[in-house]
């Protein structure tokens, strides 16, 4: 049984519909790339998974449980760690406090995150607002890991990062995948880099999942058609 399963999800922002018929399934330990052009509904799908947006219709299951009716914190406690679009670090809190605020018991603790991103340890007592964009991105990833999730969701997690750091993060994702068996849902614009880690892919267009399959099966025609490259 899938770890995460979305079936026929529809969702609205006020009166305007953003998701029409969204299907997606993600297995334990799998890395799934969620792809699509700008404004097609990737982030909206993430919001539905994390219950930050209520699905009007359809079913969302995580770890065998229907999460459609749960409040966001309950869903998170089931083991979903979110690195949201735009980072959303707690601006007035220090780096250490940002991490501590999210902490739940498990293998990931401050030391482990500091090992992954040494820069964060250096900036430990600086407020998140004063971090550079890339530093904030690292903080957001570290924060999600601190919840010790079963599923890590990275929505544009490498946006605005320097190439070296991006490589580090991709390496870190690959390591997470290899060493911990963490399931990961990835949104990123770089198909090349996604290809390095992703097992499977889902493509969204105008709020519908239009393609799902092994990442390896993505051919140039498909990407040209749905992603414009």
């Amino acid at each position: 049984m899938s770890l995460l399963q979305l079936s026929r999800i529809s969702a609205f922002y006020g009166a305007s519909q953003a998701l029409f018929d969204m299907n997606l399934s993600l297995e334990e330990g799998q890395v799934l790339a969620l792809m699509g052009r700008n404004g097609m509904g990737k982030s909206t799908t993430v919001k539905v998974i994390c219950r930050l947006l209520r699905a009007r219709d359809g079913e969302a299951r995580f770890a065998g449980q229907d999460i459609g009716g749960l409040p966001p914190h309950r869903v998170a406690q089931l083991g979903i760690g979110l690195v949201p679009e735009g980072r959303r670090c707690f601006a007035t809190l220090t780096v250490a406090e940002n991490l501590l605020a999210a902490a739940r018991p498990g293998a990931w603790d401050f030391a482990a995150v500091a090992a992954l991103f040494p820069r964060l340890a250096e900036r430990r007592d600086q407020t998140a607002a004063s971090l550079s964009g890339g530093e904030q991105q690292m903080l957001a990833i570290g924060r999600a890991l601190m919840t010790n999730p079963r599923l890590l969701i990275l929505d544009e997690a490498t946006e605005g990062l320097a190439p070296v750091v991006r490589q580090e993060i991709w390496a870190a994702i690959a390591r997470l995948k290899a060493e911990t068996g963490l399931a990961i849902l990835l949104i990123d614009k770089s198909i090349r880099e996604l290809g390095g880690v992703a097992d499977a892919a889902v493509i969204v267009e105008k709020g519908r999942s239009v393609w799902q399959g092994d990442f390896a099966d993505l051919d140039a025609q498909t990407t040209e058609r749905y992603l414009g490259v």
């Binding site: 914190h73 760690g81 979110l82 605020a101």
Partner: protein, 305 residues
């Protein structure tokens, strides 16, 4: 004017400041931490005082009365948080202003309906009555001394809770981004209910402690509310330290202003004019202080956000 009197007035100013801090602490907590403008804070203060007066009447025990103030105000806090405030976190400040203004109306008239239109009796216990002699031979009320100590303890406790504990960190995180902290698995609703109840309990407690040497009556909360807002704005919103320093500043300005301004004007004007002009200026002094502080430090003394 003797030096002793000046020292005594300074002490009075500090004491008044600590008293203000008790009132302001809960407000700055709710206001700074949850980003909620709670005009009904004064009503919670009143509820505390009325609960204490009723309990003191029924049981004759001051400690039970204080306990009643804490419990009743906290309960009222939980009630309004769950029924009203909770729906307002993601609204702008204005909706909060209107809703909590409505709550003032309900609470004030509700209290009057329950307890009648006349002030209630609430007095300090025997063991806190009388005066003590401080250095310089200053005779000082034991009860006021006790208020100072309680105020300091509350300040320390709150400071520790917000700055050091996990709960404090999460509360502040929620202040930055409520949705995000929830998405990280923290039950922010429950946390906020807790904070609101704590703020309410502090307000009620202040109402009982201060009401004991003031008058327990409907409408007692509004002047205090304004003062408390002045205090936390001077200190910088959300900062417990700021509220504390702000309270002392306001306490000193208010007390010394009332005392010194008429004397100062007497050096220039005839006594009658000096008294009247001095008193007028003294009435405005804390507002002048607040405006002055904000003009030079637009985020208050310790404000960051």
């Amino acid at each position: 004017m003797s030096l002793i009197l000046l020292v005594e007035q300074t002490l009075n100013g500090l004491q008044f400041g600590v008293m203000l801090f008790l009132m302001a602490a809960g407000l700055t907590l709710v206001f700074g931490v949850m980003g909620l403008i709670n005009l009904a804070h004064g009503s919670l203060y009143m509820i505390g005082a009325f609960a204490a007066a009723a309990m003191a009447q029924a049981s004759g025990s001051f400690l039970l009365a204080l306990a009643a103030s804490l419990v009743c105000a906290a309960f009222a806090g939980v009630l309004i948080e769950v029924l009203v405030i909770r729906r307002l976190y993601d609204r702008d400040h204005l909706d909060q202003v209107l809703a909590t203004f409505a709550l003032i109306l309900i609470f004030s008239e509700g209290t009057r309906w329950l307890f009648g239109s006349f002030p209630l009796f609430l007095d300090k216990p025997e063991w806190l009555s009388g005066t003590v002699i401080l250095p310089f031979g200053i005779e000082y009320s034991l009860y006021r001394l006790a208020i100072i100590l309680v105020g300091l303890a509350v300040a320390a406790g709150l400071f520790w809770m917000i700055a050091r504990t996990r709960v404090g960190i999460r509360i502040r995180a929620g202040e930055n981004d409520r949705e995000m902290i929830a998405a990280l698995g923290v039950n922010i609703s429950r946390l906020y209910t807790f904070v609101f109840a704590l703020g309410a309990a502090l307000a009620g407690f202040a109402g009982a402690l201060v009401g004991t040497i003031q008058s327990v009556q409907v409408g007692m909360g509004e002047p205090v509310l304004i003062l408390a807002f002045v205090v936390i704005v001077i200190g910088g919103i959300g900062s417990i330290k700021g509220a504390f320093i702000g309270a002392l500043l306001v306490g000193l300005t208010e007390t010394l202003g009332r005392f010194l301004l008429p004397e100062a004007f007497a050096l220039v004007f005839d006594p009658a004019t000096a008294r009247s002009v001095g008193a007028s200026l003294a009435s405005m002094s804390i507002y002048i202080l607040m405006a002055g502080v904000l003009i030079f430090r637009p985020k208050g003394l310790f404000g960051s956000a």
